[in-house]
Amino acid sequence: MNMKWIDKNLHIIPINTHIDPYKPVENAIITHGHADHAKPGHKNVLATKETIEIMKIRYGENCAENFQELRLNQTLKIDEVSITFFPAGHILGSVQVLAELKGEKINFTGDYKTSKDKTCKRFEPVKCNTLVTEATFGLPVFQHPEEKLEINKLLTSLKLFPERPHIIGVYALGKAQRVLSLLRQQGYDKEIFIHGSLDKLCNYYQKNEIFLGKISKINLTNKKNFNGEIILAPPSAIKNVWARKFEDPIISQASGWMSIKQRAKQSLVELPLIISDHADWNELTDYIKYTEAENVYVTHGREDAIVHWCKQNKIQGLALSLSGRDDENEL
């Protein structure tokens, strides 16, 4: 790395602060609440109000010694380093972190997407000298379709198979609420059923005035007939005995990986829905161009292709291959 003041572990050296550290540290800035970015056990945490609250819901009130909130677009000066948060459009509370020292700007994207999403603040682009980016979908095969079309696939399937329950695999934080919100936007106003593990975070989103409509926790003892209903559950629940209570269900999954049919088949997904909370290839490369960064560091994902693309576009690119990022599961 040719920047003197940060290192490969996303450590801002002059202020001894790490971005999304994998292990407990003294000072951490957390971009968003997903488990591979937000870990418990740090001493001081700087994050948005929402990210802090999500961390507390998931890990408990005392998952860090001190929490400090920073609002979007406001700058906090720590010694000679200025820190500013910009919305990342990934999930509720997610931000990009811009660090500035003596006029040199480094932007850490965290996870992001530039497209619109009613469950969080829309992404804001930022210019910088060095961009530290994710690349979960950093291959040109990933060109996410419009979410509306994917939701319509689900609604069509419900009409075609009114006798089969439709179970959709979604991660508890972000994806679950996004799918609920998208369904409501497409006019689906029936009650939607959710696995118990999604309950707390759905409530939290609703408290933040994000409209999810009528949702009900599934009660295992209750012998309700779920034919033709939509059920949201984490992918792990679909694979275990929990799913056996549904008769002949259609297994669906909402994820950016679902654009690869063979991958959907592997996970025994009959109805793949390509709904991603990460930037696709075009968003990633467009954003790199927009920032006018001279250096691009790729934290995790398909780094080889992005680094190759940077080289062709005369931008210095480097893969960091951070450990601990969930490589194959989109969070």
């Binding site: 291959l139 040109p140 095969v141 990933f142 060109q143 654009s259 690869i260 049919k261 063979q262 991958r263 959907a264 088949k265 592997q266 025994l268 997904v269 009959e270 109805l271 793949p272 398909r302 080889d304 292709a305 190759h308 693309w309 062709q312 194959e328």
Partner: protein, 521 residues
């Protein structure tokens, strides 16, 4: 292509076999000729497009897209058709052809506008249609639908007998209009040219220890399972046709198989190479396979002959409904009159009981020429496919060796996100030298462990290949071993697979290559 691409997409994503059959049956019911016929051809791998190949498509795509990005994408996705369909960046308004129009267009491609036509087709199609077009061109669909399953769907939608469909299958051609007429009760069963048409073969099931309890040894005979290639020979006057087990015509590779017969006869046997009916190794037979022309040197060094197992037709009479014992007598009779250097008869092995047969299996001295035993019921008719309870194969115990995991690549198809193709090796002094590759044999759990090991212990990457720390021992099972000049190790393993993981075994206990050769060669 809209309907067809929807069909194969649904088939790919539907896990249940019965539901797949329903989907196909429904498609055949509700699709007009000749569309359903072309679809049937694609599904069973019988659509031949000579003017366009998958490598040509790859070339067209790589002219439009950075080859490095394409290679990285292909490595990740693991399916060529899918990679191209997802990466293709152009979109154009237009009508997409139906499968008949598409097939005709692809069949009649001219060199001068080939690139342009293909680019146009790819741009007009959506992702799934593009995927289907490329599958059409590449032939192998890899959607988890076998020929057999497709034919089961034909039987279901038409209420016909699957075995009747199998019997005429190799005599009908795309777009199968006559076949569908018969299936829809609008015409007679298609007449087939028996002199040139492959008949589906009868195959054996592996035998289990439990099976022996229920099988009366007096009703069964045994013979060696010769280690060559299973063939069907159709002889009519001086014309000879040789088909492989899957119905491929391999007559041209074996010009020495000549005989004159007054009437049509169909034989089933094992094609081998060797002199005086003594089979050489499978390796020698391989010298004769897949060659466009046969050199006189090869003919002399590796002459072919056939060990006869069975007879399907004699003097144009179909014997398939006769019992095995009856067919065997006719075969012996025929062979007695037609003794020459070409046809030998597979010997029947005498045994008292199953225990005695096991002794024979373990103690035999012609070990390198066969793969074990075949056990056949003397009352069996000759049935197509793998009918239960008639023929059994009893394979030799495989040989095993503990080896060190060296390299891995991602698998294809349903394993595309796992490192599932492995190269393993043995010590050659202080270095590890590869002795083979294996990509099956492990359980899903073991695959996850291997995949995780590869991801966490990569020391170098060469394109898609990952070299790993030489610390993981795996037990390899294999059927036989041959000397090989093409491999650095000097040996080639036949049918290697991963038997189990030996996480308990330290690498320094793995054999030296020289020790391995002494033990097995």
């Amino acid at each position: 292509m809209k309907k067809f691409s929807g069909l194969i997409n649904k088939l790919l994503l539907t896990p249940s076999r019965n539901r797949k059959i329903d989907i196909l049956s429904d498609y055949f019911q509700n699709t007009p000729d000749p569309d359903r016929g072309f679809a049937l051809a694609v599904l069973t791998g019988n659509l031949e497009l000579r003017n366009i190949s998958i490598s040509k498509i790859k070339e067209i795509v790589c002219n439009k897209i950075d080859p490095e990005l394409f290679a990285l994408s292909y490595e990740y996705v693991g399916d060529l058709a899918e990679t191209i369909s997802l990466i293709w960046p152009y979109k154009k308004k237009g009508m997409i052809d139906n499968i008949t129009e598409m097939t005709n267009k692809l069949k009649n491609l001219k060199k001068n506008n080939l690139d342009e036509t293909i680019e146009n087709l790819l741009s007009v199609a959506n992702d799934t249609e593009r995927w289907a077009i490329i599958k059409l061109i590449s032939g192998g669909l890899r959607i988890g639908v076998s020929s057999r399953l497709t034919k089961s769907a034909l039987a279901q939608f038409s209420n016909k007998n699957l075995d009747d469909i199998e019997k005429i299958w190799h005599g009908v051609n795309p777009p199968y209009t006559n076949l569908f007429k018969w299936l829809c009760d609008k015409g007679p069963i298609p007449e087939i040219d028996v002199n040139n048409t492959f008949n589906p073969m009868m195959l054996a099931n592996p035998i289990n220890q439990k099976d022996f309890e229920n099988l009366n040894p007096e009703r069964f005979v045994a013979e060696w399972k010769w280690d060559g290639i299973r063939v069907q020979v159709i002889i009519n006057k001086d014309k000879v046709k040789i088909f492989s087990r899957t119905g491929d015509d391999i007559t041209k590779s074996f010009p020495e198989i000549k005989i004159d017969q007054k009437n049509m006869i169909v034989l089933d046997g094992e094609l081998l190479v060797g002199k005086n009916y003594i089979p050489m190794t499978f390796n020698s037979l391989q010298q004769r396979l897949n060659r466009k022309s046969v050199s006189s040197k090869h003919l002399k060094e590796f002459p072919a002959f056939i060990k006869l197992y069975d007879i399907l037709f004699l003097d144009s009479v179909d014997l398939r409904n006769h019992t095995w014992i009856d067919r065997r007598l006719k075969l012996e009779n025929w062979h007695a009159k037609n003794r020459d250097n070409i046809f030998d008869i597979s010997k029947i092995i005498k045994f008292k009981d199953w225990h005695n047969l096991e002794e024979i299996k373990t103690n035999d001295i012609i070990d390198n020429q066969h793969e074990g035993l075949m056990i056949k019921c003397i009352e069996s008719p000759y049935l197509s496919g793998r009918p239960k309870g008639h023929w059994f194969k009893w394979k030799k115990e495989p040989k095993t060796v503990d080896a060190i995991l060296m390299y891995a690549i991602r698998g294809h198809g349903k394993r595309s996100s796992y490192y599932s193709d492995f190269t393993f090796g043995l010590w050659d002094k202080n270095q590890v030298t590869p002795i083979g590759k294996a990509y099956f044999g492990f359980t899903d759990e073991e695959l996850k462990k291997l995949d995780k090991f590869v991801r966490n212990n990569t020391i170098k990457k060469f394109g898609p290949v990952r070299e790993v720390e030489k610390t993981f021992v795996i037990e390899i099972a294999f059927d036989s071993i041959n000397e090989s000049k093409r491999h650095k190790s000097g040996v080639a393993l036949r049918f290697p697979r991963i038997k189990r993981l030996r996480e308990d075994k330290p690498v320094n206990e793995v054999l030296q290559l020289s020790e391995f050769k002494t033990e097995f060669l």
